[in-house]
Amino acid sequence: MLTLLKGGKIVDPTRKLSSVSGDLFMRDGWIVEGPNPGERIDEEIDITGRIVMAGAIDMHTHIGGGKVNIARNMLPEDHRFDPVHRAGLCRSGCGHAAPSTLTTGYRYAAMGYTAGFEPAMLPVNARQAHLEMGDTPIIDKGAYVMLGSDDFLLRLMREGASQERINDYVGFTIASSQALGLKVVNPGGISDFKFNRRALDLDEAHSHYNVTARQIVYTLARALHELKVPHPLHIHASNLGVPGNFQTTLDTITGAEGFPIHLTHIQFHSYGTEGDRKFSSEAAKIAEAINNNPHVSADVGQIMFGQTVTCSGDSMTQHRNAGFGSPKKSVIMDIECDAGCGVVPFKYKDKNFVNALQWAVGLEIFLRVEDPWRIFLTTDHPNGAPFTSYPHLIRLLMDKTFRNDALSRINPDAAAMSTLDSIDREYTLDEIAIMTRSAPAKILGLKDCGHLGPGARADVVVYKEDSDPEKMFTAPEYVFKNGTMVAKNGDIVAVTWGDVHVVKPQFDRSIEKPLGEYFDRHLTQKLGNFKISDDEIRDITNGGGLRVHACERDGRTV
């Protein structure tokens, strides 16, 4: 089956195409150069003058795993106002902040997203996370598995195990949990919370294992580099949300000692202590640090005003914030020897000083980081806002007047403390395409995603150009997933099942001997049951495939 998309304006930063008119051919789910000699074009769609991009990729979105399910269970009052009835091809579910798996897939696809990556899969919860993601239609998915507060790693580090041994453990965990990358959350802090610690700074020693967060960051960043995993260590730094935490963030960057790292939801880690309320924006310093350190990338975790729910592996932070929850309820959980999690519903208010400044901090970072290849468009769904707010966020970035109007409506003290109104930058369409397509594919090592060159998956989005980017990005005219038209003007027209993206780093299998004994002694399952096989992934993806990406990477960046 050969499909021709005729006459679109192709925006493909990976191949340096900026609104270049041209034809696009898709054959059997892949983008191809053109018809073979004598080959008939089965279907031709005229998209003259329309903007064509690769499918968007959300590289940090909480769509699976234990805590998302807790959030779903916890928020009937949020679902009640956004019921999703069965309609057409789509099954019923619930919506808004923590949508059901089905609704998540439909809504992402209708918005032109064709992949989303769960950033905090606990090893012991990996099967549950994959089952939920497998139940999320249309989009591709994958997960970063979480280490750094797990007992086994901290024991290894306390005993002074070699980096090679730790690499074996990291490699084993990634491969056994079918992950695409590795994340560390509040390094060591989630564990120390269980020893009654309520804050853990980068250079403070864990009260039981006597290792510091800095050592954990360095060890894991190095492990990934040596295992040649494409995506660098995904770091949720220490002291999330604490005024003055920008210094911790800067120290975390130096703590990686030149190994590539990705700082997640950086907005929550860019606060100072200036001003009457001892809470200020240090977005400029953080942006400068990102600009000056080419081995560092970040996603923003922009907040948007309204009801949402925060769900994080960082039980220490969530325990601290539980009192601010709205509606007032929370779940703080200990999860075996792995880590923990915390779910707190939250309502960001534009008249609230702190929330308004958080909003401005996120936008400042977006606008001050110069290289769109290293800053990613996220709301840390659903922590800052549900992913359905992306089109609004894109407009804030692309339209200065709109942004300044919004700025004039927030808490005036917060607006006065922000430098947002002095920033003239407006994101271009190319830059939006970079930060939502080309760059995520590049940083995750997905060679066949995020671009429209021959050999890429036919994940294609066709937009009707509009002076209002919010309108344009809310409901693209056509969305193709693996060559199948799945959405048209915001309506789902076909329900397909996306692939699961994983990496399989090489490691020394002899780590399984001490691990097997550890599992028998301390965990609730046997090592053999912990491992998720390829067949199991294929079974639970409803017909989607398993895509293994190569572990290869160039030398050390710095």
């Binding site: 916890m74 928020l75 009937p76 009052e77 009640r80 009835h85 069965r86 309609a87 019923s92 509606p327 007032k328 309820k329």
Partner: protein, 269 residues
Amino acid sequence: MSALILTLKQLPLGRLDLSPLMPALVSGDISELAALPLQIATQKIPLGELFSVSGSDASQIVLQGDLSRVDGIGAAMQSGSLNVEGNVGAYLGTGLLGGEIHVQGDVGHFAGVAMRKGTIRIKGNAGDYLGGILPGAMQGMAGGQIIVLGDVGERCGDRMRRGAILIGGKVGDYAGSRMLAGTIAAFGGAGKHAGYGMRRGTLMIRGEIHLDATFADCGEHILPITNLLFRSWVKLGSPFGDAAGKSSPVHRFMGDRGADGKGEILLFK
């Protein structure tokens, strides 16, 4: 203008959700009412195919036909009156914000849940969770009045926050469970575990009751407030006015001591 009359053409095969009706009348044009999509089982069907519509005064609405499988009648109503001639399904007057709902027959479960203002009058019996809580919410009924002539099911006033529920007959098990404040009065006795987990609020019971051990006997009192209350209920007719003017003591129990323990159960004659 004559009352807006909606007559259900036939008993639907599945549950019909009528909760979009009131918001649509507030925000929309009455001429578009027939096109309002309603969820029935797995399908959406325009209101006009299910109901015949006459009259145009949306401030006085009459519902006719067999509504026993129709849920969400009067949900989020803000003002005016709504009269229902027969039995109705679940979630009657959910989140009521004002106005009066009269039901001549019986009502299903979850009537008056999360209501904030207004009045619901029920001639027949009511199901479980009357004036209670929407699943998962933090507070139940937060204001207004529910008056039931017949009996009421279990968990009446679950997590109730404010307002009054008056019951002519018997209230079922777990009456006033997890109650936060407000008043529930039953004139035909109560089932088991009355006031289970109640933190504050008042349960007034005439007739048979079995009290849990977590309620402390505080003896008999003559309370001016109960006499005032009884007198204010005279206008509601029998049995609600029956206790007025007697100045007889009430027997007070405090609990649930398994929760905050600041609630009370008053037994009266």
